[in-house]
């Protein structure tokens, strides 16, 4: 009896401890910078980060609409017009349609691998929203390894693609999975090496610290000229390749492979894949903005800046608006590229990644290193 009572006591005590526990967990994992150790603060911060996550997801509804509209204009069409004002709700209608479609899976598919690849991709995408900086001190989490963390959670994509391609038990899926994994691996390495230049300058993996350094000393795109400019171009190409956007959408080349590794996915699974693709692109655009284009910085610092501009630079709302404008310019750029260029061939493309982009990224790192060495000396 007494043991039961003590057990109940323990459980009650445990329930009372939940806020405290939440605080500890938040402190440990994403919320390194949380100062006041009270539960209210922790809950506020977690609500805030939930709100930021929701904000990203809302943007994911808007960005495809913009993309479709812009693409339609460039092709001389009108794009979605019927659902909602200017067709704004088109994507919601699409999602509703996907959700209510029949949930099919090929009979010979491997159930475990088929589902696992979807779950892995979805989880890693949602996880990657955490450390994105939206304004000074406004980020889901201010973790010290933010950039590395995003790469870490994205590193699950190649195995997930291969697994999904294999599990669908279809030759299109399998070949598509191979291509996707090869492409991701070939472009992940130049991407990471080009980022190293930024790390050398910022002395930190923390995305907020990276933006703060740009706020103080100038955006990275024009520093260590031409080292970081090269890194910017490489990173841009590599991230287009990583997200399998149109000039590089080799894994899902419709004419050859139907839909690549996602041929057999339908219904809600296909919906999740669409979501994952768009958010992968979105996060990559944000990374480009944060790493090279000043992040939430309103305008690059220069001498003789007027006072109102300096005030504006310190205003968090202005910072928030600035980064959003930059992101949507990025979305526009990606759409523009999509409508303009034809698709590459797989072997040329992989070779280009290993034999051109990789040495170039090493070269850019060397230039940045030389600048940094001079700076130290």
């Amino acid at each position: 009896m007494s043991s039961l009572l003590s057990l109940i006591d323990k459980i009650v005590e445990g329930i009372r401890d939940i806020p405290q526990w939440l605080l500890t967990l938040l402190n440990r994992i994403p919320y390194v910078e949380l100062q006041g150790k009270n539960a209210e603060r922790a809950i506020v911060v977690s609500l805030l980060s939930a709100a930021l996550g929701t904000y990203v997801l809302l943007n994911l509804l808007l960005a495809p609409w913009i993309e479709r509209k812009v693409m339609a204009r460039m092709m001389g069409r009108r794009g979605p017009v019927y659902v909602g004002k200017f067709g704004l709700l088109q994507l919601i209608a699409d999602i509703a349609k996907l959700l209510f479609k029949e949930d099919t899976m090929p009979m010979t598919a491997d159930r475990f691998g088929f589902n696992l690849s979807i779950y892995l991709m979805g989880a890693s995408t949602i996880m990657s929203f955490g450390p994105l900086p939206w304004a000074r001190d406004l980020a889901g989490t201010n973790m010290s390894i933010g950039l590395l963390y995003i790469f870490a959670v994205f590193s699950v994509f190649p195995p997930a693609m291969l697994l999904g391609g294999w599990a669908s038990n279809s030759k299109y899926s399998l070949i598509g999975g191979f291509r996707a994994a090869a492409q991701l691996v070939a472009y992940e390495i130049p991407m990471m090496i080009s980022v190293l230049g930024v790390i050398v300058y910022a002395q930190s993996f923390n995305l907020q610290a990276i933006v703060e350094d740009q706020y103080q000393n100038g955006w990275y795109i024009y520093r260590a000229f031409p080292g970081l400019l090269m890194a910017f171009v490489i990173f841009l190409f590599a991230s287009l390749a990583e997200t399998e956007r149109i000039p590089f959408d080799i894994p899902e080349a419709e004419a050859e492979l139907v839909m690549g590794p996602r041929t057999e996915f339908s219904g809600w699974r296909y919906g999740i894949i669409l979501l994952v693709e768009y958010s992968h692109m979105f996060v990559n655009i944000i990374l480009v903005v944060v790493l090279f284009l000043g992040g939430w910085d309103v305008i690059f610092p220069f001498n003789g800046m007027p006072g109102w501009l300096a005030d504006l630079r310190d205003d968090r709302l202005a910072q928030f608006i600035a980064i959003n404008i930059k992101i949507y310019l990025g979305v526009f750029f990606v759409t523009w590229v999509r409508t303009t260029f034809p698709r590459f061939r797989i072997d040329q493309f992989i070779e280009w990644g290993w034999k051109t982009l990789l040495p170039l990224s090493l070269l850019s790192l060397a230039i940045v290193g030389a600048y940094a060495g001079l700076y130290v000396a």
């Binding site: 402190n27 590395l148 790469f151 590193s155 697994l163 294999w166």
Partner: protein, 174 residues
């Protein structure tokens, strides 16, 4: 209040061990690699609970992203689909299971005997230190004390790269 964290850790332990056992038990090679991936993620979360974010990220990038992809590629390139398995797994491997259990109990008893109730005495560095960036500490140690060891790791990777390219490439096509 630590009980909830401990509960999470227990969940991670059970998850990791189940996945590890699944990697040895499943009948498809691809699935074994997938289970390995999940095991590695579980281990990575254990690193996070130990306060070592950097090792967590490296574990995911190199192990989760690199080694598992190598496994999947080589499995697909060797074209093998299924393991040749004996159906009566448990009964045929009774001795081995007993050996493994004995090993586990010996090891656990010994380690808990020596390290059980280990309290953090001096090293506040590693526990929830908010003033110092742990990644920075790690980097400082890596580039002061261990700076002559890093190039040797580079030599190792060079030799691994040379050897694996030479052995895996099809030379008749060159």
């Amino acid at each position: 209040m630590g009980w909830f964290l401990e509960f999470n850790m227990i969940v991670i332990i059970i998850f990791t061990l189940f996945m590890a056992f699944g990697a040895l038990r499943t009948d498809k090679v691809m699935k074994a690699a997938a289970y390995l991936l999940l095991t590695l993620w579980g281990v990575a979360f254990a690193y996070l609970f130990l306060g070592s974010e950097y090792v967590f990220a490296i574990q995911l990038i190199v192990y989760g992203g690199g080694i598992v992809v190598l496994f999947l590629f080589s499995v697909l390139l060797t074209g093998q689909e299924e393991f040749q398995m004996d159906k009566e797994f448990v009964w045929n491997n009774l001795v081995q299971i007993l050996i493994a259990l004995l090993l586990f109990f010996t090891l656990t008893v010994l380690m808990l005997d020596v390290f059980g109730g280990y309290e953090l005495t001096g090293n506040e560095l590693v526990v929830l230190n908010e003033t110092q960036d742990l990644t920075q500490t790690l980097a400082t140690a890596l580039f002061t004390n261990y700076n002559y060891v890093l190039p040797i790791l580079g030599i190792l990777l060079l030799s691994a790269m040379l050897g694996s390219i030479k052995i895996a490439i099809r030379e008749e096509e060159l």
